[in-house]
């Protein structure tokens, strides 16, 4: 390895000839990887019944599921912002016992199979779960309710917000805030005029990813919240059941979700497709 890289660090490594050498070795597998990711998406586009598309996407069932999906993912984002922003701030700025444990807890839903998240939610917040009794005592039953779908979506999506924001907060040079404080700014003023503007792009990116993940949530929702049109049947659940009855309609709805996901990426273009760095 060392033998090989050594000559490339010399000045001539920057010439076009030297640069074109690397792709020769990696080009094949890289093209394979890109094709591997592209083919299924192309399949959705190719099999979309364009003629019936408008009709299928405006059918009452799809409209109802879309409305519910927007509501559930919006509330999940709100819940993630209300709870996740303070958590990110504490993780980035303070030291407290068990901090490593808390950070692992935040990361865990990102790598957990969503159906496992659903089982865990049932065991925690279900009627027979750890907090089921106390919740029922105050009149809250989460399974089979829209609130349950929001909880399921927030559980798997909040980490995307917390992790992104924590990184941005930790990356701010504390001297900016110190300078603001020495000029007599109160803590809320410092947050409002110094910290927030500096992390705003990261906050927006984290929120967008969080929302997209909540919109796409399937496994935890169907396991924890069930499947009832208008109450807990979000678009991904509808795609799953439609595929068994009407594959063409399932493909149309898939295209809709694909378009939304693509829109989120385009909105984040500056940050995630390598423009700003």
């Amino acid at each position: 390895m060392n033998h090989r890289t050594a000559p490339r660090t010399r000045p001539r490594a920057r010439t076009p000839a030297a640069r074109s050498r690397t792709p020769a070795a990696l080009g094949g597998p890289a093209a394979l990887a890109a094709a591997f990711l592209a083919v299924p998406l192309a399949g959705v586009v190719a099999h979309t019944p364009w003629r019936g598309l408008a009709g299928q996407l405006s059918s009452p069932d799809v409209v109802r599921a879309l409305g519910l999906s927007l509501l559930v993912s919006g509330l999940a984002l709100l819940l993630s912002l209300v709870l996740g922003v303070p958590l990110a701030w504490l993780l980035a700025r303070t030291d407290f016992p068990g901090k490593a444990l808390v950070r692992s807890l935040v990361l865990l839903p990102m790598v957990l199979p969503p159906t496992v998240a659903g089982v865990a939610l049932l065991r925690g917040f279900g009627r027979g779960g750890l907090l089921g009794g106390p919740l029922e005592a105050v009149g809250v039953t989460l399974p089979f309710s829209t609130a349950g779908a929001v909880v399921a979506a927030a559980f798997v999506a909040m980490p995307f917000l917390v992790i992104g924001l924590e990184g941005a907060l930790a990356g701010i040079d504390p001297r900016y805030e110190e300078a603001a404080a020495t000029m007599g700014a109160t803590l809320p003023q410092t947050l409002r005029y110094v910290t927030l503007p500096m992390v705003a792009p990261s906050l927006a990116a984290g929120a967008a990813l969080c929302w997209a993940r909540a919109l796409g949530e399937f496994g935890a929702t169907i396991t924890f919240a069930g499947n009832l049109p208008g109450v807990t049947q979000t678009l991904p659940l509808q795609v799953y059941l439609l595929l068994q009855q009407d594959p063409a309609a399932a493909t149309s709805v898939s295209l809709l979700l694909l378009a939304v996901a693509a829109a989120v990426l385009i909105a984040l273009r500056g940050r995630w497709l390598g423009h700003s760095r």
């Binding site: 279900g126 399974p143 069930g226 799953y240």
Partner: protein, 273 residues
């Protein structure tokens, strides 16, 4: 890599070696993939430790048959040392979708005759191997006193039903309609087994499941019988047109009608055809 001869003349040999490396990498990925596809490809012959070749017969079956077919399959393999059964369970509609997409399998058992009839172009003649009936599953001891279908319409009873996309959901809907009962379920679950688990976990108070499901839960739910619950619930089995082992598939279907298989089905709460 570190051990490979270092390029004394650094420029010339690079490109070809890089090409070989990429090719080797490709092979390293593709060969196991192909082997895997071949192994999963329905009619593969599996080799056993004693050197004899065993035919692998792939069975697609409705999820309500999960426990009983696993038992029956083990009994069949014991009787037929040359055959290994590979069982794959899903909702009947999902099985039908898999078959239409060309899933490599030898026979299919669905939980209703309608799904099987819709597969007519892909299967040989079908035989009904078992019947079932719907019951109301409740928590052990039936604390809410759910004694009949009418009680499912009560506001204080949380009911889960199977989605109308799966046979149990359609049977349930027909049953409720015949009794003139309007139920507002809290969820329409994607399979009848999911209905059972929601009742087992205590998340729902009652659900319509097959008698065999209630039996399989071994006391975690109570089964309340329903008049007319058995109407039309049949399990047809048929060999697939594209079966790799059509003869063995037919033999297994015939065996499911034999006395040992009938005993297992009865014990699991099924009715005989």
């Amino acid at each position: 890599m570190p051990g490979t001869p270092a390029p004394r003349a650094p420029r010339a040999p690079r490109r070809p070696r890089a090409g070989i490396g990429a090719a080797a990498l490709l092979l390293a990925v593709l060969v196991p993939l192909t082997a895997l596809t071949a192994a999963c490809g329905g009619g593969a012959l599996g080799r056993t430790g004693d050197g004899g070749a065993r035919a692998t017969v792939t069975v697609l079956a409705a999820s309500s048959l999960t426990d009983v077919l696993a038992e029956a399959g083990a009994a069949y393999e014991e009787e037929h040392p040359g055959v290994r059964l590979r069982l794959s369970f899903a909702g009947s509609q999902e099985l039908a979708a898999q078959i239409r997409q060309g899933a490599p399998a030898d026979l299919v058992v669905t939980a209703d005759t309608a799904t099987m009839e819709a597969l007519r172009d892909f299967t040989g003649p079908s035989t009904v191997i078992a019947r079932n009936r719907l019951v109301i599953a409740t928590a052990p001891g039936d604390p809410l006193g759910v004694g009949s279908l009418r009680d499912l319409a009560r506001d204080d009873v949380k009911v889960v039903l199977a989605a109308p996309e799966v046979p149990a959901g359609r049977y349930g809907q027909r049953l409720l309609e015949r009794h003139g009962v309007t139920v507002r379920p809290v969820s329409r679950e994607p399979s009848v087994r999911a209905v059972l688990s929601k009742v087992e976990l205590g998340e729902a108070d009652a659900g319509l499941v097959y008698a065999s499901d209630a039996a399989a839960s071994e006391g975690r739910v109570e089964a309340v019988p329903v008049p007319g619950g058995g109407a039309g619930v049949r399990y047809p089995a048929a060999p697939l047109e594209d079966a790799a082992h059509p003869g063995r598939a037919a033999d297994f279907i015939a065996w499911l009608g034999s006395e040992p298989a009938r005993r297992l089905l009865r014990e699991a709460g099924f009715l005989l055809p």
